[in-house]
């Protein structure tokens, strides 16, 4: 036994190191969130939320940015959810593990790993230039839908797999058709998981700036239709911060963005938990 540190002491030391690593991770989050909220919350008031920016954002509010964010996020989720869930249902229920499924998986996996700035380039080349759509929230929403698609697809697949086969057998044995079974039995049981996936995609769309940098334009005015250009919150924050326009308003915008994401995550987690409990009769 010519060890420098005995196994028992090594155990004690490592336990301390592991605890420290967990605590450090928590502290990192607290510092970042804390800093943004402490600096940003005092800036937020009704005026800030409900008014248009003045003097390219030096003063005034961020109402058009909030509206732009809501519009592109809504478009992204509205487009990506049916496609993602549909593809997941097809893969899990209508086909076996074959070359087609492998291709679809490969496609979605690659889609998930493409850097957002490449999505941005694609949006510019395809929507803005090739389709002559110009800068618009609509194009931005579609680009974000493409980005959110793999998340929604993968999570939906996992949730559908998790539904016990006996549920489907029960319905089929009663003479239910395949689609009836999927629609009335499998999907409802998979809803909590799918919702989580949709929210993840939604949060991702809401926080994205690079992918829409060249697609939505940078208009400060309130968008009147989904085909208008706009400037969603992350983009606004980016411009305010890098062009040194207004630090205060940048703090405020960052805080609004962080709060939005936090609220959405917490609310869905709670709702999904309730729903699953209700379904399982607990």
């Amino acid at each position: 036994m010519n060890r420098i540190i005995s196994p028992k002491n090594a155990q004690k030391i490592m336990k301390g190191v592991f605890w420290a690593s967990g605590i450090v991770t928590i502290i990192i989050l607290l510092i970042i969130i804390g800093y943004i909220l402490i600096k940003g919350l005092p800036v937020i008031n009704l005026e800030f939320l409900l008014e248009n920016p003045i003097d390219s954002g030096k003063s005034g509010g961020i109402a058009p940015m909030i509206v732009s964010t809501l519009i592109i996020t809504f478009i992204a989720v509205f487009v990506a959810t049916p496609i993602g869930v549909g593809a997941a249902v097809f893969i899990e229920e209508y086909t076996k593990e074959n070359i087609l499924v492998k291709l679809i998986r490969l496609g979605s996996e690659t889609l998930a790993s493409i850097p957002s700035i490449v999505f941005g380039l694609f949006g510019l080349a395809f929507f803005v230039i090739y389709l002559h759509m110009g800068w618009s929230l609509f194009s931005g929403g579609i680009v974000l839908a493409f980005m959110a698609l793999p998340t929604i697809l993968q999570v939906s697949e996992v949730s559908i797999i998790a539904v016990p086969r006996s549920y489907a057998e029960g319905s089929l044995a009663l003479g239910g058709s395949k689609w009836q079974t999927i629609y009335r039995v499998i999907l409802p049981a998979a809803v909590p998981g799918i919702t989580t996936g949709v929210i993840l995609g939604m949060a991702r769309a809401m926080s994205e700036a690079a992918a829409i940098l060249f697609v939505v334009g940078s208009a400060l005015a309130m968008p009147l239709s989904i085909f208008d250009p706009g400037r969603p919150l992350p983009l606004h924050l980016y411009v305010l911060a890098t062009e040194g326009i207004s630090l205060d308003n940048a703090y405020g915008t960052a805080a609004v963005l962080v709060l939005l994401i936090l609220i959405i995550t917490v609310v869905t987690n709670t709702v999904v938990e309730r729903y699953s409990k209700k379904m399982m009769g607990r």
Binding site: T25, V89, F122, M206, P234, L257, T265
Partner: protein, 290 residues
Amino acid sequence: MKDIGEFLIEKGLLITAFLSIIIILLIIIFIFSEGLPFMESYGFLKFIFGSIWDPSSGDYGVLPMIVGSLGITSLALVFAIPLSLLCAIYMAEIAPKTMRKILKPVIETLAGIPSVVYGFFGLIVLVPIMRIHFGGTGFSMFTASIILTVMILPTIISVSEDALRFIPHEYKEASLALGATHWQTIKNVIFPAAIPGIITAIILGMGRAIGETLAVIMVAGNVAQFPTTISDPVRALTSNIAIEMGYATGIHYSALFGTAIVLFIIIIILLVVANYFHYKKKITIGGGYL
């Protein structure tokens, strides 16, 4: 006898399933059709190994940006791997229930914070600190790598934690029953068995770091030159596109699509490597290769 409705639904679902393939193909076509002709006429090697990027005099060498991207990413991995693996092991093996309940949402939130907010935090808090302690402007490869470290922590932690949890409980029992300490069991049995999953986790983190754009732009300084120390400013591939696309035209415009192709190829290489390890992980479950 199949109902017509059932038939239509099946075909509709087939189309949705095909869409992700179509979208990825569209992206590849549009990026490559713009970037490849440029790379060909400018010269592939000259483009990839050229060390000067100066659109105003017609120089489009992308190597400084490749070095920049890889430099920031490697540095971020150096910081992130130890912390995130320790944290993953902590969550999978050591943390009591209450700590796990706290850490899970903490990591989800870290993953959910928009990258622009990270960049903003870096710009406002980290850059001045760096300026004071390390001199220079504070915008540097080092600063960017710290921001990226925080951004890839949640990815590496959550995927490795999964991999660690996946290790059969029997291994742990067998080791403890032989009189091993918990740490010996983690070091000699649990961790080695989880390595394929952990490598996948690291590669995913690497992919996120290489693909990150705006957070890097905000703190890296963005000078298209080779860095000599880690406190030099650097420009990443992603930043190169984001900074210049706003005003690029003609060849310059195409050269940025060429930059995107380089980025794309790096990501594909990472994907292939990740899949290779993922594959091995599957055999481990069935037959055991270790």
